[in-house]
Amino acid sequence: MVSHRVALIAATCTLLATAAVIASAQTTSRVPAAVAARSIAIDERFAEDEHLKVGDRVVISGDPGAAATGSGDTAVIAAITKQGTDPSEIARDEYRVRLHLTDLQRLTGAADRVDRFAIRTAGGAAADSVRASINAAAFGFHAYRSIDVAVGTSRTFQVVSRFHHAIALITIVASGIFLLCILLLRVEERRRDIAALRLIGISRRSVVWSVVLEAALISVVGSALGTGIGWLGSLLINWHYRGVYRTPLAFALVTPNIVVAAVVLAIGLGVGAGFVAAMRLVRTPPLTLFGR
């Protein structure tokens, strides 16, 4: 381990507390000043709900009744942590408290028990060899790369993401058909106008070009409006769900790639539909378009 220049983050910094510990954390304003305070970090939801701030003293204990009996350890809130942007955290409504490893071990009464800890390597290339070393030497432990853990925990979200893609695809196909029908109808409404244009000597190419140009213009304006509405919608959705789940996660995104894809798709569909509709009409003799 030393040869790979690793550091045990948990040993030097903090370890995530278990739910049982969190549930038993109680606030107090009657902590004897003589007691040497330990330092802990709490998450901002906990701080907000219990009106705690940095420097407040609390009693922590594995016993839910500790505050009433005056037992437990006094701790000073040294930091208030923000919730990470991890989708898997959204549905969890318990609070999180971070303690020094020694404090946690004392609190749980299990001095030699650690469920998980993280190791940061000095270089990315070392991660695989460290993992191999741990897995070969440390009985009862299994080391994973952080990316593998992330992939494992985000599988549910990958499935959800695939659903989103499928829904998006269906929406796009349905919208495309709708757009095609609208454009066909709009061009069909102009049968007589187009017949008149042909009679006054406007060429087929000019008629098709004008229809396609108009369709492209409608598509650009439509996609710009759609993007704008989508962007406003994403603001609204993010504002609502960030409030509901108290997370900085973005629930709806309008990225430049999405904008480009929307505009390209809209113009492609619009121009295609306009071209098909225009070709249908210019291939029809003007007198037939006039209904004669």
């Binding site: 008149a196 244009l197 006054i200 406007i202 060429s203 000019s206």
Partner: protein, 241 residues
């Protein structure tokens, strides 16, 4: 505007007495299922430059079919149609379209102006198609709108114009490329009597200024304004008595 502004551009034979239109024994049959409808049955006529002809007759007598032949929109089943000396029956679609653009002006009963374009832009349309420069076509469109009395309304869209004004814009559009022949299909059909009379007056003025005009109409007053009236029945021209 002078007379030379509205009539056809000078051509090689424009000063000769050669007819603008010569129809020789034209037949036009339509097949409707097993039945053959004979819309025209051996029609012959000539129209001289500067003439003003009204074609009248009951519905279904073949007058619109004849107008379609004169407008190079349709071809005779038999016979020959010559416009300004050219046999238009043999023209392919692209050639016929180009011929219509430069030689024939159309005025329709329902105007058929482009709703999103202004009056001036509507008049410019055939000139733009003919490849005229922007400056030249704007000047020509203004000239024509002045001629039909709409110089002050060049920026108005069709929806902002009355029926009579729209028809006047349509007439200006028809004259844009200085056609040798102006064809009108029931040009007063959608207008009230007063507005119709204005349009009749405009056609008369156009003709006096040198434009060859052919109108198909049920309107007795419009027909009466023409120099010559052709009566049709059952696909044939009724000889004058």
């Amino acid at each position: 505007m002078t007379a030379s502004d509205t009539r056809a551009a000078p051509q090689g034979d424009s000063l000769s007495t050669a007819p603008v239109v010569a129809v020789r024994d034209a037949h036009r049959d339509y097949r409707m299922g097993q039945e053959v409808v004979r819309a025209l049955r051996g029609v012959s006529l000539e129209i001289a430059p500067g003439d003003y002809v009204a074609i009248v007759g009951p519905s279904g007598c073949g007058k619109s079919t004849l107008l379609n032949l004169l407008g190079v929109v349709d071809r005779p089943t038999e016979g020959q149609v010559l416009i300004q000396g050219r046999d238009v029956g043999a023209m392919r679609d692209r050639e016929a379209t180009s011929f219509r653009l430069r030689n024939i002006g159309f005025v329709f009963q329902r105007f058929y102006l482009m709703a999103m374009l202004s009056a001036r832009e509507n008049v410019e349309l055939p000139m733009a198609e003919a490849g005229m420069s922007a400056a030249a076509r704007i000047a020509r469109a203004r000239e024509l709108l002045d001629y039909v009395g709409l110089g002050a309304r060049e920026r108005h869209r069709p929806g902002q114009l009355s029926g009579g004004e729209q028809q006047r814009v349509a007439i200006a559009r028809a004259l844009a490329n200085r056609p040798g022949l102006l064809l009108a299909d029931e040009p007063t059909g959608e207008l009230d009597a007063h507005t119709g009379a204005e349009i009749i007056g405009l056609f008369r003025r156009l003709n006096e200024d040198g434009t060859t005009v052919v109108v198909v109409t049920h309107d007795g007053e419009l027909a009466a304004a023409a120099r010559r009236t052709i009566h049709m029945r059952d696909g044939q021209i009724i000889p004058p008595t």
